[in-house]
């Protein structure tokens, strides 16, 4: 049964505020996320809402065995799709074995910074995709149309390196989805999207694909662009009770090496943790984090 709360009262938490927040039901567990590389990354992007870096050990790498355990439980619950993120997913030394295991039971998407996609790895990924009945998607992040704007966020040299690795993927027949945040000016506009499409076409990708995400003002981004204002919170009654379907937490959960969290955004929030196993987390969740406000107002889904 539920573990009694023993956290320090001085630490702010979601659930201490939860009496005034609306609660969202899990309608169906369609999307299961894995924080497969924890919060460890070979970059430290200035807008990272989970503050990932080479030294952030808040969450550690997951093992193949851990992932397989959750995959078995997920199959019982009829999960429809799997997503992997970090940190940098391909820093996890078992990442390819994890993908192989996942692609036996469902479609998989990997969110990556694209730095570790050398030609050999791209070939292995293509082989994994070809061996499965299900889709394998690789999503690569950029945050600018050129080296100057991108590298200011993601680090020097990353723009050119990522473009080179997109070419490696394309060479083996994988068409990645480019992921851009709205830190990049105009990324969400039709003109902005067209600029990224043109960039991809220039690399030889004739079916360019793009995912634009808003910014969450937490983690490193709170330092870069400023934190949430106190009014940016959802209150009970502000959202119609039957209007939850647009919120990803009504159909997803996030697994890390430390248990199951409500969504991919709140993994650095202790109150975002819902349980040890998926079966512990089929209950409602209070939408009482400022990031929930972004999800509601912007209609965000981290899915492709």
């Amino acid at each position: 049964m539920a573990v009694a709360e023993s956290g320090s009262p001085s630490i702010p938490s979601i659930q201490s505020m939860s009496s005034i927040a609306p609660r969202v039901e899990l309608r169906s567990l369609d999307t299961l996320w894995f924080q497969v590389a924890g919060t460890l990354c070979n970059l430290a992007c200035t807008h990272c809402f989970v503050s990932c870096s080479p030294t952030n050990h808040t969450h550690e790498h997951m093992t193949l065995e851990q992932v397989e355990g959750y995959l078995r439980e997920a199959a019982e619950l009829g999960v429809k799709e799997y997503y992997f993120t970090g940190g940098e997913a391909f820093l996890n030394p078992q990442m390819e074995a994890i993908l192989e295991a996942t692609l036996r039971v469902g479609p998989a998407s990997v969110l990556t910074n694209g730095l570790l996609l050398d030609p050999q790895r791209c070939q292995r990924l293509k082989a994994l995709a070809d061996a499965s009945d299900y889709s394998l998607d690789i999503r690569i992040s950029l945050d600018g149309y050129d080296a100057e704007s991108n590298d200011a966020i993601r680090g020097p040299g990353t723009f050119e390196r990522v473009l080179e690795n997109i070419r490696h993927l394309h060479a083996v027949g994988i068409n990645p989805v480019l992921t851009v945040t709205e830190v990049c000016e105009d990324a969400g506009s039709a003109a902005g999207k067209e600029r990224f499409f043109a960039l991809l076409r220039g690399l030889g990708l004739d079916k360019p694909r793009l995912k634009v995400l808003p910014v969450f003002h937490i983690g490193a981004e709170a330092e870069r662009g400023g934190a949430y204002e106190s009014w940016q919170r959802l209150r009970e009654g502000e959202v119609a009770a039957d209007d939850w379907e647009h919120l990803q937490c009504s159909s997803c959960r996030m697994v890390t090496d430390q248990g199951v969290w409500v969504c991919p955004i709140l993994v650095n929030e202790p109150g975002g943790r819902m349980g040890e196993q998926l079966a512990d987390t089929l209950d409602t969740f209070p939408l009482d984090h400022p990031a929930c406000w972004t999800c509601h107002v912007e209609g965000v889904s981290c899915k492709t």
Binding site: M1, A2, V3, A4, S6, G7, S8, I11, P12, S13, I14, Q15, R27, L43, A44, S51, S53, P54, T55, N56, H57, T58, E76, G78, K80, F90, P93, G106, P107, L115, L116, R121, Y134, S135, L136, D137, G155, P156, G173, N175, K193, K207, R209, I218, G219, A220, A222, Q258, G259, V260, N268, E269, P270, G271, G272, R273, G275, E276, A279, D280
Partner: protein
């Protein structure tokens, strides 16, 4: 395996990140503070729950078959009929049949020539009953022409998102596209269909059921437009895994599910001996460079798994293309009919289906 960057890049990154790394070293973020890792881990452990093994099994059982669990609140999923029978169909929908052989199709998209060809082809192949899974309009010309064909052909029809939108006066087709270009073409097509459908036809659409159940041999099959959960959910082959389909069948207490909506046909025979079939569409080709369209024939053969045949259907696509041009419908749509390749709605395709497409 190369988990390291080239030394030069690594050096540059180190310099760039030094300041921030110092700030984050050994710390976790907690709310708006940086705290020692131990504090974070203790706080995290105090949240969430750890149920007993028995309770976990019960949670999963409730999830897989909610209507069998007396302690679960009524499901509010929009596509579920209110008031369920305790035995038999999970949703109280009457079961039609039994049949030995039925033809099931979807996505007419105003293709009256395709529909006429289907009626003839399915009867010739011995189908005892014809079922249409919705999306009568959009894309093609002269929407009103399919109505008498459906009625004369004795077709049992369910509502697609198109019928739902037209009948309720919605501003758009609710197809579920995200790409602006797809939405642009979807708008043209929806506006054309809305303007050329009579009020009576729209009223008839509004009265169509959202789901049906049929018996084929001993099997009870659920007929829906997109999925049992949502009228506009896309079920593509490469994105509809076996465990997911098993749970859908169990939740709906049926031996199989027939759907359409995506435009691409497939069949998955499940380990439980159930079947999920996307019957495809007869309104436009299946994005494979061929001009024919597809429907499904289902047949009960005693002692065998459900026999599912995806039937390629030829029709006079040249005449339809000419009619679309007379109606000044987008040339992009005409191209699809004439070449078999989709020129729109590509954004919704999963990676594998997109890789197989021309555009």
């Amino acid at each position: 395996m190369s988990e390291t960057l080239d030394p030069e890049l690594e050096e540059r990154l180190k310099g760039f990140f030094r300041d921030r790394l110092t700030a984050h070293r050994g710390l976790a973020t907690l709310g708006e503070k940086l705290v020692p890792l131990g504090d974070f881990h203790r706080a995290a452990e105090s949240h969430g729950r750890a149920l007993s093994a028995t309770e976990r099994q019960r949670q999963i059982a409730n999830y897989r078959e909610p209507d069998r669990a007396p302690d679960r609140a009524p499901d509010r999923a929009p596509d579920r009929a209110p008031g369920r029978a305790l035995e038999g169909a999970a949703d109280g929908v009457p079961v039609e049949g039994p049949y030995t052989k039925v033809a099931v199709f979807g996505g007419v998209y105003n293709n009256h020539l395709g529909l006429a060809a289907l009626l003839e082809d399915a009867r010739r192949r011995g189908a005892e009953a014809l079922y249409c899974l919705g999306d009568l309009g959009g894309f093609g010309p002269s929407p009103e022409k399919v109505w008498p064909l459906l009625q004369q052909g004795g077709v049992h029809t369910i509502q697609g998102n198109y019928e739902e939108s037209l009948a309720s006066g919605r501003e758009d087709c609710n197809c579920g596209y995200t790409d602006p270009r797809d939405n642009h073409f979807a708008e043209i097509s929806y506006r054309y269909t809305a303007q050329h459908c009579s009020t009576e036809f729209k009223r008839w659409m509004g009265l169509l059921p959202r789901r049906r159940r049929i018996r084929v041999g001993e099997r009870e099959l659920l007929l829906v437009h997109g999925s049992p959960r949502r009228i506009n959910e896309f079920l593509f082959a490469s994105a509809a895994p076996v465990p997911f389909l098993e749970v859908l069948c169990q939740q709906e207490r049926c031996d199989g599910i027939l759907c359409t909506h995506t435009g691409l046909h497939w069949h998955r025979h499940l380990p439980s001996n159930k079947d999920v079939v996307n019957v495809g569409v007869i309104g436009r080709p299946a994005n494979d460079g061929q001009t024919h369209v597809w429907y499904a024939l289902l047949e009960d053969r005693p002692g065998e798994p459900l026999h599912v045949e995806h039937v390629p259907l030829r029709y006079d696509h040249q005449s339809l293309a000419a009619e679309m041009r007379r109606e000044k419908l987008p040339e992009a749509f005409v191209e699809t009919l004439l070449t078999g390749w989709w020129t729109t709605c590509l954004e919704i395709l999963p990676t594998r289906e997109r890789a197989a497409s021309k555009y």
